[in-house]
Subunit: 762 residues, 2 copies
């Protein structure tokens, strides 16, 4: 845990440059716009510790899988998020000395991320080895108004000299991925060109042949007027194009470099039109200018914040934390492109391949349902619909047939990207989360028609998978599910994980309900789906009903708790509080076998099921299970605390709820898990939002109606949030002594506050 960032309601602030923290700050201060983004790397050269990273959404490379021992069914390739061409570089040489903060004396260093406007700023004074001192102020953003545009304003003022200076402004596609399995470079040059003032490089990814065209164009002023140069050289190297400018820096006069970037990919343009389109975007950006581009950008952010902001009174650290989470989520995924998803590191790093985990359905969907227009969440569902064929192929590789679908653990394009047998082949509850997301979306939006359009086909594929994956145990006279890994990944290859069995039979029942519903509402579409999927309605639904009726759910009568899996009680039932400091985190201190045979739980498992299907359980059942499992839970997944906030809130465990909230909301800001330098934990940020809205706010949807059972943590005065709900925007403000609800837009709506109906009208 590190606490070097200043607390502020809207800003993330780093004062003073500590090279040891630079990679953490590069992650935290990352900026993006859903289409592209990059870590908060310096524009100038930096020979200290850094992870240079720029990313373009949807562009990936299938790196050859690396495993110790190959197992049948492993994917041959692993889709990697690609470190993309770098357009931010402004290299400066003054009197033959590079401006490199690792080699200068640096004063007044300040890095600020203004979350309100999505602006990254940096200022410092640097003294070069020979005593020359410059002041630098840079500002950078990736435009939320135009996803293909980025801009930098880089101002440099010589404080005590006038000297010959070289500026190198360029686009560089010769980048590497830190986690390349075989030290390979993934980009090849297609085209490059540079003229005075502009450079454009088109690079293509090996194997996947995505083209990305990255252009830059610059305008330089000196002391407020157009600068004059001694000389401009065109520089072209492999995968690199730029200008090298020679000029005089004049003491006391501010030289400002406006560097405009255009990043276009073949996902959105014909390959042969990329260069022309790039030039056009550049021309328009330059014509508009930095300030006007920024205004457009800030306007979009203002609109976004209107919908998704959460305010907290009385706790600046908490306020900063929740805004940081919302900011990162919002700039990672805008919901405009149904081919995209929410990568675990967003645009903040390249660790973990693929872009899509079950995190999307289980954690992110509620955030987008609550804070964005309906189509954003819908696009997340459609994304999986479009991958259905691949999920059926994926199941086929594991021996399933007749349309059974297993969605991948990790994916970019629908193909499985993961290669640990105990996860890839066995952590199949992910399939349940994808089914549940359909239910959750419809429950929230009332968009029943989604079932006929897309949902039912997905549900059929998933139910067929469960139906084949389940085994009839003659000995037990019950259906069982053998060899799975549940949400608690600190158990592998267990039998009858209660959560997985529960979500499997839930899926079967929901699919039966969905068949029924579509049959009534849209019989011709149902007939079409039955024909398309070759669905044997009688025999298949008969088996599903049998499974629902005769599923085995491990349970301990004595304690009145559901058992995480068969044999769980064979373990030594310790509590996390029994562990020594040297034992934590167990995933860094203990060998895997020791973790597996211990009772310790990585993240909610039985409790995840109770959270999803809360309405099935009375409060005392929830309490018994929470009181049994939570003390064994080490919360070593960033996805764990939020579920516990929600259940603890429900149980009235206010202090515990607040403790869990702290773990989730400032995870990256305080580098809680000592891994933020690799990038931020984007998907779990949605859990932070849920912690407030579903946890403290006690928000649920029952029978199409919003319910709130809120409380205010003792540490706060009040908190407020807005919700998008069925065409309305509702504002909720909760303080220690009152709950204020307000309908900001839309038709009147009845909601329930602490179980009592309230009619909201404008």
């Amino acid at each position: 845990m590190k606490q070097y960032l200043k607390h502020h309601e809207w800003h993330i602030i780093e004062e003073g440059l500590d090279p040891h923290y630079n990679k953490i700050s590069e992650s935290v201060f990352s900026i993006g716009n859903g289409r592209m983004g990059q870590r908060a790397n310096f524009e100038e050269e930096y020979s200290g510790e850094t992870l240079r990273g720029s990313y373009v959404a949807g562009v990936y490379y299938p790196d050859k899988t690396r495993v110790g021992w190959w197992k049948n069914g492993y994917p041959e390739y692993f889709a990697k998020v690609l470190n993309a061409p770098n357009w931010i570089g402004i290299h400066i040489t003054i009197d033959n000395q590079k401006l490199d903060l690792a080699k200068c004396k640096v004063e007044d260093f300040r890095r600020v991320l203004d979350m309100k406007t999505g602006l990254l700023s940096r200022s410092f004074a640097a003294t070069l080895p020979d005593g020359k001192k410059v002041k630098v102020e840079s500002k950078r953003f990736c435009s939320m108004a135009n996803g293909e545009v980025g801009a930098i304003r880089y101002a440099i003022t010589p404080l005590n000299f006038t000297a010959k200076t070289t500026l190198s402004l360029y686009v560089d596609a010769d980048v590497v991925n830190k986690d390349s399995n075989y030290d390979e470079k993934f980009w090849e040059e297609v085209n490059k060109e540079a003229t005075e003032g502009r450079a454009i490089v088109t690079a293509q990814t090996k194997k996947t042949f995505f083209h990305v065209t990255t252009g830059m164009q610059y305008v330089i002023t000196n002391d407020g007027k157009k600068a004059t140069f001694d000389r401009v050289n065109i520089e072209l190297r492999e995968k690199y194009a730029g200008n090298v400018i020679q000029l005089d820096l004049q003491e006391g006069k501010e030289l400002v470099v406006y560097k405009y970037a255009a990043v276009l990919s073949s996902e959105n343009h014909a390959k042969d039109a990329l260069v022309t389109a790039c030039a056009k975007v550049l021309t328009e950006a330059v014509a508009k200018g930095f300030d006007a581009l920024f205004e457009d950008h800030a306007r979009v952010w203002a609109h976004k914040w209107d919908g998704c902001d959460i305010t907290i009174e009385g706790d600046i650290a908490a306020q900063q934390g929740i805004r940081f989470n919302i900011f990162q989520l919002t700039q990672t995924y805008t919901g405009e492109d149904e081919r995209l998803n929410i990568g675990p590191k967003g645009f903040t790093g390249e660790k973990y391949g693929g872009s899509t985990y079950w995190d999307t359905e289980a954690y992110c969907l509620p955030f987008f349902l609550g804070t964005a227009e309906e189509k954003v969440a819908r696009n997340l569902l459609v994304y999986r619909y479009k991958h259905l064929e691949r999920a059926i192929e994926n199941a086929g590789k594991l021996g399933f047939k007749d349309g059974a679908a297993l969605y991948p653990m990790v994916t970019m394009n629908g193909e499985e990207c993961h290669n640990e047998w105990e996860i890839t082949f066995e952590e199949i509850h992910r399939n349940g989360a994808i089914a549940f997301a359909i239910f959750d979306y419809i429950r929230y939006t009332g968009d029943d028609a989604y079932l006929a359009e897309f949902g039912l086909e997905v549900l059929l594929g998933i139910s067929r998978f469960w139906s084949q994956r389940i085994t009839w145990s003659s000995d037990r006279n019950r259906f069982v599910m053998l060899g799975v890994t549940g949400p608690n990944e600190y158990e592998n290859n267990v039998n009858n994980n209660w959560y997985t069995n529960t979500i499997a039979t839930w899926t079967l029942q929901y699919t039966l309900d969905a068949l029924n519903l579509v049959g009534k509402s849209n019989p011709s579409r149902l007939a079409e789906i039955i024909a398309k999927t070759n669905f044997k309605e009688t025999t298949e639904t008969h088996r599903w009903r049998e499974i629902i009726a005769k599923m085995h759910y491990p349970h301990d009568e004595k304690r009145g708790v559901y058992l995480q899996q068969d044999g769980f009680l064979d373990k030594e039932l310790l509590r996390v509080s029994d562990l020594g400091k040297d034992d934590r985190p167990i995933n860094q201190k203990w060998s895997w076998d020791r973790i597996l045979r211990s009772c310790f739980i990585k993240q909610a498992d039985v409790l995840q099921g109770i959270f999803l299907f809360e309405e099935r359980y009375d409060i005392e059942t929830i309490r018994r299970n929470f009181d049994f499992y939570e003390p064994m839970t080490v919360h070593e997944s960033s996805l764990s605390p939020c579920v516990h906030v929600i259940l603890a809130s429900k149980l009235g465990y206010k202090e515990r709820a607040y403790e869990f909230y702290l773990r989730t909301s400032r995870l990256d800001l305080d580098d809680y898990n000592n891994d933020t330098e690799d990038g931020c934990h984007i998907t779990s940020m949605a859990g932070t939002w849920m912690s407030i809205v579903k946890g403290f706010g006690g928000m649920t949807v029952k029978d199409g109606t919003l319910h709130f059972n809120p409380f205010t943590p003792d540490q706060w005065k009040s908190y407020s949030f807005r919700l998008e709900f069925r065409g309305r925007v509702i504002k909720v403000k909760i303080s220690t002594d009152a709950v204020e609800t307000e309908l900001e837009t839309g038709e009147p709506l009845e909601i329930f506050l602490h179980g009592k109906p309230v009619l909201l009208k404008k």
Copy 2:
């Protein structure tokens, strides 16, 4: 399965060169002498499919581990058997055409391995592209009389021409390992020298710094007289030294190259003395000459065969099979060097790292007990004693303490080399095999003193491991063993594997017995061991007794069988005969999760325990377990069939026993598993020997006495073998109607035949 090799009692014969089979033949025809060996590569250049491999015992390289996802406790390095400098090369160029069998017309190709004398011969006629035709006869051996010496007699006769010819004779240390994780070369040059007639290269392994000095010296005759050369060039390249000789090949005249090799390693010589010693070995070898060296070598083989041969009358394929198994085992491990062990591929390939698996104790020990002097088996035990400290360190990495020892799954120098969590961390029954081997050795030899000298310390370390690894289940009121992989590796991370639980408590009891025995026979040594190991006799033995008394063993009352693990009956209980042809072998056709949740068994598991502790179980219990488990067993490990031969024999299932025998004895000769090209399955060859002696021969040792309950498979007339037993050599010949036993050397001995005492006298 391929059956291109000719059946012969003593020879392995390949007629005709089929390039598709070359790598298989290279494995099968491999030669070695316990210190070094190599695949049956051609001496001349060969541009076809080949895996060039030479190996020096005990020389390894710790290659950086490659895994997909790192887990705590994985070894950073993986000791690889090293492909060592190549000394066999004789490259021939005739009129600027290389003699390369991939580019010639080849006739009368014949490769023969004479197992009686350990001689590899090859003969062929080859027509070069321009029509020149030569006849070649080569012979090669690695001397069993002097482990550092190898020799080749390579005779070439031009049949239709006289031409300028170049011979290149060399030593080449610039070799690669096929399975290098990062395409690295593992050898560096230390020194090289070449004079006319001789070349010596010293290479060292990276990281481990083994030095291997490889020398060659040649003598060439032409038409029986010393050959004259036009010119001899010295050739020195990186890691390479040799001579290039220009001479005339004269039509009809036989040119014979005698190439002598000396291979010395720093394991046996001071590094700075290696080159001098190598030169001396070369000088002596040349002085002695090919024929005399061969005579010495063949004499050692004759002596070996005297002790270990098994003859079978009436079945040449079976005769060839068993001799091939014995031949390979004998040339892999001679028992002279207690630092060495029995690598899974011996000198026949480089697949699998490390040299030592539990195969050594569970399968190979009985072979060496039965066929070699006592010290050979004893050295195998001492090898593990010498690794005890490392085994304690290894257990420490997994969180065990106070002297608990976990022997590695795979090792070269005592350190763990394996990196699959479900094996490395969980296949802990290997520890039991190491304890059992001590018991087995003493049971067979009567060498009780071994306990005090070495055995007890190892037993204490292993028992301490079990004691810490076992968990008390309050819920069950029993001790349990969670998260293990049993011998059946088609189950991972199971609870209460019956075999593991059984061998664990057996170890605890045997250690208690051993403490008692050493306490009586050698109290001062016991005191010394207790002090050295800081053994808390009262508390530790108390816990062991508790575990023995309260261990949980899964059992099915209804069927009267032991259960392979908890929950085994949840599976769908199919039979292998229910599988389609497309399903087999399941480890190539099914994904891992499907294998895991199926009932199918890779190799004996419960039956392995019944085999080891046979005396505990009545015949009907054995029958019920065999009849339950064998039909579910796919025998996809080379170690599986032999245990089934032995149990089937005991149960009177003669036909089944013979079927299993066929699977094991000609596994490599017929390339049964389609993988012989990687090398032969050396360790399972000892299982073939056990199949005959313990299976058909029904040999057991009870209370220090040999018992035989033999039968003759219907396909055989008779079979006979010799056994070393407590200073005697006993010959046993079993035919359909009689059993002849004979004491060849040693004191009179009472044995039991079909339960009846027989006194053997000379």
